[in-house]
Each structure stands twice: as structure tokens, then as C-alpha cells.
């Protein structure tokens, strides 16, 4: 069964450093999403991406965040200058229809 994959599973970085979280969505899907989940808290929407552009973003997704689909298979989330409060699980998801979403296993980002 096709699945969404994410790398790395765990990323540790120093405050102020740039990180890139990578996702490979399911191959025939057209809608892509990033969410984050701070430990023990709710899943928060960050951004959705469709037709090679951002379709929706939350207030969390400020200028420090960017997304890219560089090669037609990968979908990346970049945080330019990480802050302590960026520590969280980051989930990528994809969808073929824009409703049911398939989630990856997540990347745990730890900012020191």
C-alpha cells in the first residue's frame, strides 16, 4: 500500500539554524500539507500546497517558513532560523481529492 514517507525521523538543531524537513507524498496525489504537533498538544495546520503554489496557510506559517516541491516527488518544509518554540513533531500529508489525507510518520524537530 502506498504511503507518505518523511525524513529524517528526528532532527536536532541549534537555535537560529536552518532546517529542511523532507516528505515524499503518495505519487498520484495532488494536494500536500504540513502540520505540527507540539508534544501532548493538538495537531496544528501549517500550510497546504496545490498546483505548485501555497493554497492556504495559518498564522503560524510566517516568513520563517517556506515550502517547495523541487522535483515533482519531494515536498519540503524549510524553517530559516529555528526558535526553541519550533520544537515539535512535523507531519506531512497528501491527498488525491483534497479531503481524506494520508499522513507520514512525522519528523521530530528538537531545537536546542
Amino acid at each position: 500500500e502506498p504511503e507518505v514517507t518523511q525524513t529524517p525521523s528526528h532532527q536536532v538543531t541549534q537555535m537560529g539554524q536552518e532546517v529542511i524537513l523532507r516528505c515524499v507524498p503518495i505519487s498520484n496525489h495532488l494536494y500536500f500539507y504540513w502540520y505540527r504537533q507540539i508534544l501532548g498538544q493538538k495537531v496544528e495546520f501549517l500550510v497546504s500546497f496545490y498546483n505548485n503554489e501555497i493554497s492556504e496557510k495559518s498564522e503560524i506559517f510566517d516568513d520563517q517558513f517556506s515550502v517547495e516541491r523541487p522535483d515533482g516527488s519531494n515536498f519540503t518544509l524549510k524553517i530559516r532560523s529555528t526558535k526553541l518554540e519550533d520544537s515539535a513533531m512535523y507531519f506531512c500529508a497528501s491527498s488525491d481529492s483534497g479531503d481524506e489525507q494520508f499522513f507520514g510518520p512525522g519528523t521530530r524537530l528538537t531545537v536546542l
Binding site: Y35, K42, V43, E56, D99, Q101, F103, P105
Partner: protein, 112 residues
């Protein structure tokens, strides 16, 4: 503001007994409603969805949910709980096509 509420942080049930995990929502228009389950150190797995049609929808692992428009609720149910159902359950609402908001999650404990 548009929101999803899961009023119970935790639900405890004995194996073999019926379970209900509650969800209410406050959104404009006709939302798409979802339930996802999260096992420890895993991503979210889709359980079921309501788009339109029959108010009772059936999903994976024997779960079902009932959409009640007048009460703006979408409670998750299962006739007979299993210990393996113990997990974190999230209700979600798709609003405006590209944005999904999640409830805070309900932790289900099924005791043998």
C-alpha cells in the same frame, strides 16, 4: 471563529463494552468531517469521513460515526471495544477545501 471541540481529554472503557468519543464543531457552511487515530510514535491514520449522504458512516477497524447537523456533532463509536483500540483520537474538519482543523484529541484507554 471556526473550531472543533473534543470535550473529553480521556475516555476509559472496558474491553467488550461500547465506546463513544465525542466531537462537536463550529464552522460555517457544510463541512467535511473526519476521524483520525494516532498510535504512539506514529503519524495519524484515517478512520472515516463524512462528506454527504447517510448520517451514519462506517470506517476502519469497526468504527463508525454519526453526523448530527442540528447538534453540530460527529461522535465516534464502536459497539465493542478492544484493548488494541487504545490510542489518541482526533476529530477534524475540512474547511474551505485546503485547510483542516483538528480537535485537541481524546485519549482512549480500553482495559482488559
Amino acid at each position: 471563529a471556526q473550531s472543533v471541540a473534543q470535550p473529553e481529554d480521556q475516555v476509559n472503557v472496558a474491553e467488550g463494552n461500547p465506546l463513544t468519543v465525542k466531537c462537536t464543531y463550529s464552522v460555517s457552511g457544510n463541512p467535511y468531517l473526519f476521524w483520525y487515530v494516532q498510535y504512539p510514535n506514529r503519524g495519524l491514520q484515517f478512520l472515516l469521513k463524512y462528506i454527504t449522504g447517510d448520517n451514519l458512516v462506517k470506517g476502519s477497524y469497526g468504527f463508525e460515526a454519526e453526523f448530527n447537523k442540528s447538534q453540530t456533532s460527529f461522535h465516534l463509536k464502536k459497539p465493542s471495544a478492544l484493548v488494541s483500540d487504545s490510542a489518541l483520537y482526533f476529530c477534524a474538519v475540512n474547511i474551505g477545501g485546503f485547510k483542516t482543523i483538528f480537535g485537541a484529541g481524546t485519549r482512549l484507554f480500553v482495559k482488559a
